[in-house]
């Protein structure tokens, strides 16, 4: 039976415990998180504030000149509601300086550059503040590859990576993330009027069902089409995205030469000795 319904109170405890445990094991007690004003980064901030206390959470707003003012307003609501620390760092000068050399660059290149510019700021603040970078990528976007490699996909600790987008919304409502943030159309806010669902070509409700059956419940594509009555073109498009983006979920491939190669036959937990 397909159910994406979370036992929110239990998941909240597990995720707050996860942040507290993994951050402290790494020798830190603070986190830094990029706040976009969207539901994912808001939920990460809410969970971190609960796990570590608001004084140990830094929310960084990093608008570009075309970013929607609404995004910054929503991020500010989260900062205020939680009482966490915040900083605003405009990325316009850095991004525009670079594209001054490449004025013809398309939207994808510009969007990726912005995401990576934000990443460098977050990791610089990791060093500056002695804080780990908290991830905000959910399972839906990780599986679809709908994110920038070494950009918004980069983090040290990610509490949301095993929650589908619709589950992020459920948990956000449970934790009291403002409704205006939870209910709005998700957007990478890379250009005016952009929405995730228009760009992807389907809604999160639809795709989360397919992904859950495909990934969590191990249905074959043929079963999804014949038994579950999903549209064949849609299901195949989703499966193609998952397969094509596998590289984004792995470390760079290493040519094997020695008898023991990192991540092939040199295998240790990340929490080795922690």
């Amino acid at each position: 039976m397909l159910s994406l319904q979370l036992n929110c109170e239990s998941v909240r405890k597990v995720l707050a415990g996860f942040i507290d445990n993994e951050v402290r094991k790494a020798g830190f007690h603070r986190v830094v998180v990029g706040l976009s004003g969207g539901v994912d980064s808001s939920l990460s901030a809410y969970l971190a504030a609960e796990a570590l206390g608001p004084a140990n959470v830094w929310g960084i707003l990093m608008p570009y000149r075309t970013s929607s003012p609404e995004s910054a307003a929503h991020a500010a609501m989260v900062v205020q509601a939680l009482g966490i620390n915040s900083l605003t760092i405009e990325i316009t000068p850095m991004v525009d300086a670079y594209f001054g050399i490449f004025p013809d660059a398309d939207q994808v290149r510009r969007g990726n550059k912005m995401a990576r510019e934000r990443m460098t700021i977050l990791f610089d603040h990791s060093a500056r503040l002695g804080a780990l970078v908290l991830g905000t990528s959910n399972k839906t976007e990780l599986l679809l590859g709908y994110g920038t490699l070494h950009g918004d996909m980069a983090s040290a600790v990610n509490p949301l990576g095993d929650l589908y987008k619709t589950q992020v919304r459920q948990l956000s409502r449970h934790l009291g993330v403002p409704a205006v943030i939870v209910e709005k159309h998700p957007s990478a806010d890379l250009w005016e009027g952009q929405t995730d669902e228009a760009e992807l070509g389907f809604t999160y409700e639809e795709v989360d069902k397919v992904l859950c059956l495909l990934v969590d419940q191990r249905y074959e594509l043929s079963e999804l089409i014949a038994e579950c009555r999903f549209d064949e073109k849609f299901v195949r498009a989703v499966a193609r995205k998952v397969q094509a983006s596998q590289y984004k979920r792995r470390l760079p491939v290493i040519a094997k030469i020695s008898s023991r190669t990192i991540d092939r036959d040199f295998r240790y937990a990340r929490d080795w000795g922690r």
């Binding site: 979370l6 239990s10 405890k13 993994e22 937990a269 929490d271 000795g273």
Partner: protein, 287 residues
Amino acid sequence: MRQFRVAVGQIAPTLGDLEKNLALHEKMSREAIAQSANLLIFPELSLTGYFLKDQVPSVALRSDAAALHLFRELSQRIAIMVGFVEEASSHRFYNASAYFEGGEIRHIHRKVYLPTYGIFDEARYLAAGDRIRAFDAALGRMAILICEDLWHPAAPAIAAWDRAEIMICPSASPGRGLGQTGPFQNASTWERTIRTCGDLLTSYVVYANRVGYEDGACFWGGSEVVAPSGETVAKARYLEEELLLADLDPGSLRRARVANPLLRDERLDLTAREIARILQARSTDGE
């Protein structure tokens, strides 16, 4: 069995840090002694942590290792069961639990069923045990079944047929699947399994699960003591460290076996014949 108090040390070991984990075991042991417990059970691989991967040979101990002397000493005051990686003289490594009593090891169980699917990798790193035996301890007749062992119904059945009164199940169960009542789906499955096991085998079941996180996997705790009637005697919290205490009573074992003389009616001769037949059939049809 005697009337006695069991304690379960629901701890969060540090992955691959024997020294730190020994100190944690010692602290819990002192607390259990202060609570007048007669037996203290630690979870699976309690001395080493669970997702060891290539660390296995580095944290392995011979059963006569100096690091285990602590438990020999403590066991003059309280019986203790500890989980560790046992290195055999053949340099095979086992996922093992040792039962210490009166200054010595009374019994070692080597995990028989090594899960190697999904999140699990055990058979890549570890050798499988080849026996399931009940043993006589001062407190009663016990059997140890480590985690996955209990998911193979024949294993606890063999222990019960071997006259175990108390099944000890140390576990390191990473939570997975969406839970409706508890934190995870597999927590509910475990709870059904141990209660059914107590009920059908009319034996005590002591389930000792760990807590903490390793690489994002959450061990859910919820250790539990189940009576031979299948009723829960004591239950630890989910997700948090705890020293769980329960009093075990020979009267309740007797009453369960009077009410449900299932073990009396067991047909081992029939079971043995049918298993022989199935083995024969499998060897011919290759399935």
